[in-house]
Assembly symmetry: C2
Homo-oligomer: 463 residues x 2
């Protein structure tokens, strides 16, 4: 039986196993889901064992464990290291989900006429890393596994992969491989497959502004005491100038300027602004003056408020001048910007612009470096060939706005450029209510991954 | 037995009755306390009956009922109409209370060495209106009630007294009186008694900014799609200029300019800025350039954000570019500014400054007109005389920053200038966690109210 025949004859089980995994609310950011995160790690270990690895283990860290599994078919064959994560983003706000986030359902959508799985983590990243487990099972069962394989599936990607660095440093020999393969990104569309070759870095900060030492009556004190919400808004507003450039001193110092040729090439990727606006129901796009939408998310750094709160937020009215106001602010960074340096510039700037009437506290949440992946490697060529064979189209190299801090870790610690071959779509609502992942994308992904292994074995220079 | 002897011999009961009332969480802003608000109305009716009114009734409205009670001792005697409210502000955030908000406890504080009652509503306004019920009981029991009395205690003051207007218009005859007496304000201190002669108006608005039609991943879309939180912050920041003047066109058109003489007189009220800053733990006061703190809260209009929320506000980090952001914004108004006109100017301005990349919705919550009370009335003189006798000091007329929309309603509908004789302190933390009311203030208030009745009967021209 061929790989594809094996996949076809186990479709229901391949799908149902993923649904079971999606039922575990493994939210790493929220301590109340701690047991569930550990439960998800067990699930991953068991699934690797059932798929046929030689051994699987749960490797404890200071936080959530890393699940490792490997199958060595031939020490002289090339080795593929698969990275993924079993943790998911928080599902809040729950009330905006059309179905419960941890009770997966399959529904049709405009982008997914053959159905999509609606659940937190369906696209990011459970549905995507699980394709590798199933592709591995199919290759092994059909006797077509052409590479050794190592799985490293972590549980802290959504909170900054804090313990992965140490694990990778301490297990360089164990993790030795010829390529790292990651499916945690999106492609342009099913008609326009793409491979991600650039990712932005991230510096995520929390800001706390304190005015008076207690909540005050806004009638008695309003207009005479600085209101920390008003001040926080003023500070946030000042972080962009009239051309939507970020005003933090030094922020752009290490940002690369690209040639017109490079930018022209980048802008050749298919992009329909009207369709983009229609799907988001916005009247206008927005961003840094002088750049296209593709450039704004691909090669330019940005700053977004991810959350803000303070004062009375319940029903009705309360005339309070609150003691405190808070914001979560993140910056997407481009290659050469160092997330620790940016975090420090951010903190210094916020303290510098705060008026004397308030106190400001800045806490960095987590960060990661930006990454660029070369397109002339054996791994990239294997991905191109696999996509060509599966989709019948040439893959387009794209730069994506998101961040996978692990990417630069692999480059530095293991000397490997990861291949970012993701099968999600930008419309899959990852990190949002109603996250979903196409059923067709799931199975096309499994097929394409199996093809990647074949082509990688074929293209890899014999050791 | 004299009034004061009666009060002295019933101190424990007078205090315990108030504590029972404070145990009812009559939060009018939050529908989940609906039954409690009605229960508080029953409590008030029963307490009036026990105190000795001829009749008490619960008058239904489209919202929460108004409790009415009266005692006519002599149709030719002057009549005092007492106004108060049995509803309270929401108690959120609960975690900032040192003791549960609806489980009153008595503790010493710097301002209240003889103890203060800590509970939501202790000062605003349960503790203050209940002084009138007890003063009435004491006067009646000791045979010293010199005026007829009418009580009108409502349950919607904290949500804008929406149904009071109609009730007053429909019951002008029933409410006919010679003066309205209200204890719902504060005085400077126990050593410096004062009477409030000015109150600011209020326009309370809710703003909703919508960007994309769903929450987005801030990596994939950040920098290319307008973030409604960033935009809301920018809009809020622009509502004050560099001199902290409000930038809404037309906002100051009807604001009165005062003479230097008047302002000098106003600034003669005792005010210790160092002490003010120390008690609030702020390094600097803040406000409109060219005005003192007393002027900023007394004669100038202001704009404060009372609440803001949007995006992810839980533990940890979520890289979301949210679909919506919200703010509750209120403006304190001065005489001649019409709260409806200001609400409309606010809405027009917010829509005008919103960029095309977002949609803005503005909903007015509630409002009220500012009021100024003359100091040459019989009522004012009676208050002065009562305070002189009780405190041994001349009362200082003050303008307070808060709003009691009912004040201007009485002026317009009943032709009566209310006497705003409150016994709270600015430090009582009304509308805040740990609201409290001095035990001494409570009993001094009861005595002073009884003296007001005596002096009002003495000074009032015989009908």
């Amino acid at each position: 039986m061929s790989v594809n025949a094996f996949i076809a004859s186990h479709k229901d089980r391949f799908l149902n196993e993923l649904l079971d995994l999606l039922r575990i609310p493994s939210v790493s950011a929220d301590p109340k889901f701690k047991e569930d995160v550990f439960r998800a790690a067990d699930f991953v270990k068991n699934s690797l064992e059932r798929a046929g690895v030689d051994r699987a283990e749960i490797c404890p860290t200071a936080g959530y464990p890393i699940v490792y599994g490997e199958k060595v078919i031939d020490p002289s064959a090339p080795t593929v290291l698969v990275y993924g994560h079993y943790d998911v983003q928080p599902a809040d706000p729950y009330e905006l989900w059309d179905s419960p986030p941890f009770d997966p359902v399959i529904k049709q959508t405009e982008e997914h006429p053959e159905g999509a799985i609606f659940a937190r983590g369906s696209a990011d990243d459970k549905g995507q890393f699980y394709m590798h487990v199933k592709a591995f099972e199919a290759m092994l069962a059909s006797g077509e596994l052409a590479c050794n394989v190592k799985f490293m599936i972590e549980g802290e990607e959504e909170v900054g992969s804090e313990n992965l660095d140490l694990f990778v440093q301490q297990n360089k020999e164990k993790l030795r491989a010829d390529v790292v393969l990651i499916s945690d990104t999106s492609m342009i569309s099913m008609d326009t497959p793409s491979v991600t070759v650039g990712l932005r870095g991230l510096a995520y900060m929390q800001v706390e502004v304190t005015g008076p030492n207690r909540d005050l009556h806004s009638g008695t004190y309003g207009g005479a005491v600085a209101n920390p919400i008003n001040i926080l808004c003023k500070m946030i507003a000042s972080l962009h100038d009239d051309e939507n450039r970020i005003t933090i001193p030094g922020f752009y110092d290490r940002v690369e300027t690209y040639s017109e040729t490079y930018r022209d090439q980048l802008n050749k990727a298919p992009f329909d602004e009207d369709d983009y606006k229609r799907k988001l129901a916005i009247a206008e796009v927005w961003g840094e003056k002088g750049y296209t939408t593709i450039e704004r998310v691909g090669i330019r750094p940005t700053l977004d408020v991810n959350g803000i709160w303070g004062g009375y937020t319940g029903e009705g009215a309360k005339t309070v001048l609150p003691s405190k106001a808070y914001a979560k602010i993140s910056m997407r960074l481009v290659p050469n910007q160092d997330h620790k340096e940016i975090a420090s510039l951010f903190e210094d700037h916020l303290k510098a612009i705060a008026p004397a009437s308030v106190k400001v506290k800045v806490v960095p949440h987590h960060g990661g470096q930006a990454a660029v992946v070369p397109t002339d490697s054996v791994g990239y060529h294997a991905a191109e060939a696999a996509i060509q064979e599966a989709f019948g189209k040439q893959a387009i190299p794209t730069r994506e706005g998101g961040s996978i801090p692990i990417t630069s870790l692999f480059q530095q610690a293991l000397g490997l450029d990861p291949i970012l071959m993701g099968f999600g779509l930008d419309t899959d609502a990852i990190h949002s209510p109603n996250e979903h992942y196409g059923v067709k994308n799931y199975f096309m992904g499994i097929e394409t991954i199996a093809l990647f292994f074949q082509h990688f074995a074929r293209l890899h220079p014999k050791g």
